[in-house]
């Protein structure tokens, strides 16, 4: 079986690992599934060939034996459900791990995306300085709640799962803002994720793409 994913020809972050293909690479590395990468330029993202794979013109996409998937969360879940290593076998623990995946993308990531928009896309708007503290406070609210739940545990619910993979990936987007440093337990949690050999391989592979001549 050949697995092919798409990634940016050149990621806007220059290889910091924040483009969403890193999440999928990480999942594939955790389960030991080899994969190929097809690089897509920004212009090609909006062309019919790519829109057929992902109607929203984003990366990553996932192809495997005629199955085409888009949405990082769905790809990671598919990889986790069809290979061992990212979800517990117990049905209840499995459902809870999936709940953390949704919490990452639907509860924790939206204010973080909003913060990225405020800090980058709207940085030159007249409201930028006045609005930023509000947006940061919404992020802090989620971080405070997440930190309280994590407590002194290594991972969110027992062993490392796809839920941690998604949550660490979402939190990584915050590093440049400094907000993560306000929450030592979450900083340590993210560092534990980054220290995993599978993450390191995924990160190195996307970095090689983004720093090639």
């Amino acid at each position: 079986m050949t697995v092919t994913i798409t990634a940016f020809d050149r990621s806007p972050d220059g290889g910091k690992g924040l483009a969403r293909d890193t999440r999928v690479r990480w999942a594939l590395e955790e389960v030991g599934q080899p994969y190929e990468v097809r690089l897509v330029s920004f212009a090609a993202l909006k062309e019919p060939a790519h829109l057929a794979l992902n109607p929203f013109g984003q990366i990553p996409t996932y192809e495997e034996d005629g199955l085409v998937l888009f949405e990082t969360g769905a790809i990671v879940l598919h990889v986790a459900e069809t290979r061992d290593g990212l979800l517990p076998m117990d049905p209840a623990a499995r459902a809870r791990a999936i709940a953390w995946m949704f919490a990452a993308v639907n509860t924790v990531e939206p204010p973080i995306l909003d913060l990225s928009i405020a800090r980058l896309q709207e940085r030159d708007r007249p409201w930028a300085a006045g609005r930023l503290p509000l947006v940061e406070e919404r992020v802090r609210t989620r971080l405070r709640q997440l930190s309280a739940r994590l407590g002194d545990a290594d991972w969110l619910d027992g062993d490392f799962t796809a839920g941690d993979l998604m949550m660490v990936s979402v939190l990584l987007r915050l590093r440049s803002s400094g907000l993560l440093d306000e929450f030592p337990r979450l900083s340590a949690y993210v560092a534990r994720g980054e220290a995993r050999p599978a993450y390191r391989r995924a990160f190195a592979d996307q970095l090689a793409v983004n720093t090639r001549p």
Copy 2:
């Protein structure tokens, strides 16, 4: 088996069906699973008893034979995976339906949440009028792409699935903004969702809670 969900004692929308318990009610109605509802006041959302169920202090939560879940998307997926009626049997079609669930919450909903924040929480801020058009345009971009993919089909990928349930629910949040009316195919798609008997029962039940004396 007893299924218990939580919902707002009084929804901030006064019963328009936009609180997220409506999504879970709808899923439970589609599969014919009876359920009980425990109403939670705003103050109680932040208390330890509720935070034990949902660390982010939100509704809905889901309890069933000792399993506790939070996150609407995860609850709907659990209901869909353990009962018939919301996911196709074919594994590839099933994975694609789940991709639409993630697309709803991670690609389409974030700009819609941002629009709600702009129109409600930030309405009295000095930047409100100047920023609104930018936020609306981000929503329109997603609606344009979604409408193009839907085309003249009734549902996003074959028969109605949990992916449509989530996408229709996310789009319903836009109705009061008028943006949905700019996309006739999406308006008709949402109307098809609302016309389903399961949705009508879910809507009526949440309305009864929110309009009781």
